[in-house]
């Protein structure tokens, strides 16, 4: 009889095994970025929605609009350093330590989305089988990196408008209001993605509820790695997880959830 995922899980119950997923550096990096993001969100939203009561309360509590701008810009500057450091470390790792560029988006990520949608709609019986990072995580990661770069460029434009025109005199004046529009819209988009998608996936999703602790402990349980990153599990352990054919309806209870 073939060993399905469900049975495999039953077998290891009682002596739970964990896999190391993140080192201390990545954990701290996430926490630092989360904190910067939070500060930028609070001070940024208060500026974007300056006419509403809560925004006014935040601004006045923090000591006035000038203070809020200083906090926002300082944190923005720290965020620039974080991004620069992240890219530098990634470049170093990829070039000199032959890291596996597992976060790069592949064609498979797009087919995974379709596979998962099929699974959600009940067309297939099992979800997409993902590697170290699934497409949801890649989406969030690249959202932060690309969106962050956009925020940095537009943010610096707004911070140093006169210097920008001295440096690049060919730019039209319209670039400033355009940067403002892009900065505040992109920020709103990023915040909305974080509060819906990221918070759902790491807190409210039934698979991780009440909290996905991986980013705090650096560990992931064997149960979850098999479930969420089966290809990585296979790569690490060399164990081939057998996949139940989708056609057999009676076997549905045996499939991996």
């Amino acid at each position: 009889m073939q060993l399905t995922g469900k049975r495999r899980l039953d077998m290891i119950k009682g002596h739970e095994r964990y896999f190391k997923r993140f080192g201390l550096y990545r954990i701290l990096e996430h926490q630092a970025n989360a904190l910067a993001f939070l500060v930028l969100t609070v001070t940024g939203l208060a500026q974007k929605f300056h006419t509403s009561g809560w925004a006014e309360w935040i601004v006045l509590s923090l000591g006035g609009i000038d203070t809020v701008r200083v906090i926002h810009r300082t944190t923005g500057f720290i965020f620039v350093i974080f991004l620069f450091e992240h890219i530098s470390v990634a470049a170093y790792g990829l070039l000199f330590r032959r890291w596996d560029p597992s976060i790069i988006i592949h064609k498979k990520d797009f087919t995974d989305v379709i596979d998962n949608l099929k699974y959600y709609f009940g067309i297939t019986d099992s979800p997409a089988r993902c590697n170290r990072y699934d497409y949801k995580q890649k989406f969030e990661y690249w959202g932060v990196v690309v969106g962050g770069m956009l925020m940095i460029v537009t943010g610096l434009t707004l911070w140093f408008p006169t210097e920008l025109f001295r440096l690049l005199p060919f730019l039209p004046g319209q670039i400033i209001p355009a940067a403002k529009a892009a900065h505040s819209n992109e920020a709103l988009l990023a915040i909305l993605v974080i509060v819906t998608w990221h918070i759902y996936n790491s807190i409210f999703s039934p698979e991780v509820f009440p909290l996905d602790t991986t980013i705090f402990t650096g560990k992931i349980s064997e149960e979850r790695i098999i479930h969420e990153h089966p290809l990585e599990y296979e790569r690490i352990t060399g164990i081939k997880l057998t996949h139940t054919p989708a056609k057999d309806k009676d076997n549905q209870s045996d499939t991996l959830q």
Binding site: H50, L60, G64, I65, G122, F165, G173, Q174
Partner: protein
């Protein structure tokens, strides 16, 4: 019917008795009047002036002196004697005749005593009349003297006219008030003598009287820059009557041009600039009552120092009073979006918060920094080019490094439309579509995920 006749007879009887009681001229009076009731009787002075010698029987009868005989006042004359006298002018005759009043009425203190010394200026009969002498009534007691060209001398040697034009008072908003409502201590009976060093002192004192009725306005002036200057010892700082006038007080709200011209007295250069501005020229040449005058922005009574940050930060609100008023602006085809577009921009946000913070010291660009203060011009037509050409130098006041295209960063109060600012318009449009698209997509995925999980359980 018979009662009526009896009643009528009684009425006639009593009216005969009462009229007989009221006036019984002495024999002397009757003799004098034999000639002096001739209206054509007159005398000619050396100066050529003619004086009528007619004495009205009725005015004598109504006078307080009705019981006196002619010779009581005209002591040289009697039934027997009628001396021939010669006076240079009618005035010198009056002065001489009035001296006779002091035989009975000899005040040795108060305003009358003082006037007797300076008897040539004003004599008794000028105020009280000659044959028709009456008790001064409360209503006309002040004006009966002050309608003459009297003057008042101060300790510094300067003198002013204390002549009051009744017509001025009739035009004034205070026409119903009586003199002593403002001039305390004076009445029909009382006329205390007062000594002032300068004319200014009496003006300052009189202004204090306004607070009795206008206490709210008075207390507001205590917060004004004018009062600050006054309390620092500069007595030329304007007080109530300097702006509102003394006896000819007008309504500042109804007479906008007059209102502005009062400020001009001290702030002439500013008035000149204002009168050429888009607002001032409309007021001066068209008598347009919609335009703001000085007091609309600076306020009338609690005028604060316009150089303060507080005043600067109030500017958008002041301009917005009219420029965000849809009804008013539509009359002139002006956009009301100017205030909103300013308030949503960097400068507007800062100023709005500064007004609430109270600790703001930085100067942030407000309406007047680009449009001018008193010399505000039109933003359309030929003036718009002038405004635009000045813009860079205005930006450079706060942003010294501003380059040539820096002013274009400000979209001139226009909404970013496809034509005006295509880049801004496009970015806003893309996000307007993209944000809901992304969000709905993610939420649908979350719901699908939950649904699948629930089904599988």
């Amino acid at each position: 019917m018979q009662y009526r006749y009896i009643l009528f007879a009684f009425l006639i009887f009593f009216s005969l008795i009462s009229s007989g009681d009221a006036y019984q001229p002495t024999e002397e009076v009757q003799i004098c009047l034999n000639c002096h009731n001739d209206k054509s009787l007159s005398t000619t002075f050396k100066s050529g002036e003619r004086l009528s010698l007619f004495v009205d029987d009725h005015s004598l009868r109504d006078s307080v002196h009705s019981e006196l005989s002619c010779s009581n006042c005209h002591s040289d004359f009697s039934v027997e004697t009628h001396p021939q006298r010669a006076f240079k002018t009618a005035r010198s005759y009056k002065v001489s005749a009035s001296k006779l009043c002091t035989n009975c009425h000899a005040p040795n203190k108060g305003i009358h005593a003082k006037m007797l010394n300076a008897v040539k200026v004003l004599v008794c009969t000028d105020c009280h009349g000659a044959h028709s002498v009456k008790k001064p009534t409360k209503e006309n007691s002040c004006i009966s003297c002050h309608r003459f060209s009297l003057s008042m001398t101060f300790a510094d040697g300067k003198s002013i006219s204390i002549h009051i034009d009744e017509a001025d008072i009739q035009k004034s908003v205070h026409s119903k008030l009586r003199c002593y409502d403002c001039h305390f201590g004076f009445s029909a009976e009382e006329h205390p003598e007062r000594k002032f060093k300068t004319r200014r002192n009496i003006t300052l004192l009189n202004s204090e009287g306004c607070r009795r009725c206008h206490f709210d306005k008075y207390t507001k002036t205590l917060e004004s820059i004018h009062y600050d200057i006054l309390s620092q010892g500069n007595l030329n700082a304007p007080v109530c009557v300097d702006c509102h006038g003394g006896h000819s007080i007008f309504s500042g709200r109804k007479e906008k041009l007059l209102n502005a011209r009062r400020c001009e007295r001290c702030h002439s250069k500013i008035y000149e600039a204002y009168s050429q501005s888009v607002h001032g020229s409309a007021l001066v040449s068209e008598h347009n009552q919609d335009v703001p005058v000085c007091s609309d922005c600076h306020r009338a009574h609690d005028i604060i120092d316009p150089r303060t940050v507080d005043f600067r930060n109030m500017t958008p609100g002041m301009c917005g009073n009219c420029h965000a008023n849809e009804e008013l602006m539509s009359k002139y085809g002006l956009s009301t979006a100017v205030l909103k577009s300013y308030l949503e921009d960097f400068h507007g946000v800062t100023v709005t918060f500064y007004r609430k913070q109270k600790n703001a010291v930085r100067h942030i660009a407000v309406c007047t920094d680009c449009h001018g203060i008193h010399d505000i011009t039109k933003t359309k037509g030929s003036d718009s080019a002038v405004l635009k050409s000045k813009l860079l130098s205005r930006c450079q006041k706060c942003h010294p490094n501003a380059a040539e295209n820096f002013p274009d960063a400000w979209l001139s109060h226009y909404e970013p439309t496809f034509k005006r600012a295509p880049l801004v318009y496009a970015i806003n449009l893309i996000y307007k579509i993209f944000i809901p698209f992304m969000l709905i997509g993610l939420i649908l995925q979350i719901l699908l995920h939950i649904w699948r999980y629930a089904v599988n359980r």
